[in-house]
């Protein structure tokens, strides 16, 4: 990469750390360190909420998904605006009004200490591991693209983030998120502009060509529980997933607990309600346009350079033959794509249909060769190829002008760091408030808790970096933890729904939570074809049903 690009990345990293340390002047008590004295403006909190949700996976993986699969993933977010409005009138006023540090602290006020401790423990377990994977995702890509060791890639992203989060607390996290969000959106918009100028066809023709491959197929109205991305799974399952994430996950709850008032907290969530779907559409559209770009510009057979090197060493003759076939298939596809553009210009419907048919056939030829190459890469590396995650980074480094590539790499780091910082901050909050202050040293001074909070942030940061560094070897363990996380995400939402039902009681919440997790586990094992988006709905309903029944039984005994 050009030195100017590196200069942009380094300036960004130094600025984030220096600005974070500057923010530490406002955090002398844990209320300031964890909640910014509940005094942040709604727009800063709103941008922080969006930045926390937008990770490096969005910048690298989702754009790549747009290139290979098109726009259909957008359906995943259809429930988000509905969830935000529901949260604005339900959980947000309860949590903000309760003056709590963590969402789980509220559950002790409403139910009992064991429900609080269990939900907080489940959060720590799940988020502690996922924080490592959030660092690992971009680190793996940087490692392959730039040839760095995994430890160095992890350190480059992890160390500055841990530093500014540990020293500056939530103030540093939120104000860094604000700047990072501008950087991310700026990088995305710049890529779209560059793509439009670099394509050898008009945008209208580019969309016709992409549409011919099904990449502009947004809606799938089939009610098939085994399909992950359908209109119904997005609207129903997605709503419950977003309710769980934004309503009960401390990494998000803590963002809006810092707002000045309930109304400002609501407004911060509504920012996502308005902007998330258009932003996600932009991200996917970039992928679609990159796909069109590589119809006219020869792409590498494998986008992952590390895998390409491995395959060349392991099967040089077979890979060479495959590259020859790929070159021929690419040339034929390029001719077919130009024919589609010419037919669109001519305006003859029959000619357009014929050109589309030829183009689809040539696209299928390219896909066949690429599939063989991916299988070769999987054999040589002993891991799934995940080539999709390397499409955009390769495009950025090969095609973007000097300066913009650096801006994009800084944008990917910003996306990763904003999510990691929010998670470290919330992990520290839950550790100190829900366990250390609740069970170990309830009488200690505020200054003591502040020091312990900084220490906890640092320890969680080191833990996340270790998990990220060994992510490849810990792969199956991380998958187990993530799968375990999906068992209780909807169930915790169910406990919060129970909290709003006046007749529910502590035993109902506790045993309802266990029953919800058991139900999702049973569905996962018994009906593995049911997509994970439905698990949250199933878990939440099971908790409410069992919790209400147990509460009804428990009430006379208590009375």
């Amino acid at each position: 990469m050009h030195p100017l690009n590196w200069a942009i990345v380094i300036v960004y990293l130094v600025y984030v750390v220096v600005d974070g340390i500057r923010r530490s002047k406002d955090t002398h008590e844990i209320e300031g360190y964890f909640l910014a004295n509940r005094n942040l403006p709604w727009w800063a909190v709103g941008l922080s909420v969006m930045a926390t949700q937008l990770s490096a996976v969005t910048m690298i993986g989702t754009t790549g998904q747009g290139a290979t699969d098109g726009l259909r993933f957008i359906q995943f977010y259809f429930g988000l605006p509905i969830a935000m409005v529901i949260l604005g009138v339900t959980i947000v006023p309860f949590l903000h009004g309760a003056r709590v540090f963590t969402a789980y602290e509220f559950l002790e006020k409403r139910f009992d200490a064991r429900t609080r401790s269990l939900t907080s423990f489940l959060f720590l377990l799940s988020r502690g591991m996922s924080c490592g994977t959030i660092i690992a995702a971009p680190a793996v890509v940087f490692s392959a693209i730039f040839g760095w060791s995994m430890a160095w890639s992890v350190a480059l992203i992890g160390v500055p983030t841990v530093l500014y989060t540990m020293i500056g607390g939530v103030q540093a996290v939120t104000w860094a998120d604000v700047k990072q969000m501008f950087l991310i959106v700026g990088a995305l918009v710049a890529i779209v502009v560059v793509l439009v100028f670099k394509l050898p066809v008009r945008p209208d023709e580019a969309l016709h060509i992409a549409g011919a491959t099904g990449r502009l197929q947004v809606f799938d109205f089939s009610f098939d529980l085994s399909k992950t991305y359908t209109f119904w799974s997005g609207i129903l399952g997605g709503t419950f997933l977003m309710l769980s994430y934004f309503g009960t996950d401390q990494s998000q709850v803590q963002r809006y607990l810092t707002a000045r008032s309930v109304n400002e907290a609501r407004s911060s969530l509504l920012m996502s309600a308005y902007w998330k779907i258009p932003l996600q559409a932009l991200v996917l559209l970039i992928g679609v346009l990159v796909f069109v770009y590589y119809l006219f510009q020869a792409p590498p057979l494998l986008f992952n350079p590390a895998h390409e090197r491995l395959v060349r060493q392991a099967e040089p003759a077979a890979f060479g033959a495959l590259e020859t076939r790929f070159g021929a298939a690419f040339t034929a596809r390029e001719r077919a794509a130009r024919a589609v553009a010419q037919a669109e210009d001519a305006g003859d419907a029959a000619e357009q249909e014929a050109a589309m048919g030829v183009f689809r056939a040539r696209e299928a030829d390219v896909t066949t060769v690429r599939t063989e190459a991916l299988a070769m890469a999987a054999r040589a590396s002993g891991e799934p190829s995940r080539d999709v995650n390397y499409i955009i980074p390769r495009f950025v480094l090969d095609a973007l002008p000097i300066g913009l590539a650096g801006l994009f790499i800084a944008g990917v780091m910003a996306a990763a760091m904003s999510s990691i910082a929010a998670e470290l901050n919330s992990l520290s909050t839950a550790t100190v408030i829900d366990f250390y202050r609740r069970w170990i040293r309830p009488e200690a001074s505020d200054a003591h808790f502040l020091n312990v909070s900084k220490l906890a942030t640092g320890v969680w940061g080191i833990f996340a970096c270790i998990v990220a560094t060994f992510a490849a070897t810990l792969g199956s363990l991380i998958e187990v933890v993530n799968r375990f996380g999906s068992f209780f995400y909807g169930s915790i939402l169910g406990v919060f729904i129970l909290a709003m039902i006046p007749s529910s009681r502590g035993p109902g919440a506790f045993f309802g939570l266990l029953a919800g997790m058991a139900t999702v586990f049973a569905v996962t094992v018994g009906l593995p074809s049911v997509s994970f988006l439905w698990h949250n709905l199933i878990g939440a309903v099971a908790v409410v049903v069992v919790g209400t029944l147990v509460s009804a039984v428990a009430r006379p005994a208590r009375g």
């Binding site: 726009l71 009138v89 006020k109 409403r110 969309l207 549409g211 947004v218 509504l270 779907i277």
Partner: protein, 42 residues
């Protein structure tokens, strides 16, 4: 003891207005996506 939300008398009306606004924006977004699919997604 359940801590109650800080509510104002016009909360219901404000919620309905917000819901209508958010849904209106979403409907416009979905219509745009639908147009994109209908125009280009053969």
């Amino acid at each position: 003891m359940t801590p109650g939300p800080s509510s104002a008398p016009d909360d219901g009306g404000r919620f309905r207005l917000t819901l209508v606004r958010v849904l209106a924006v979403q409907v416009v977004t979905l219509l745009l996506l639908w147009w994109l699919q209908a125009r280009y997604g053969r």
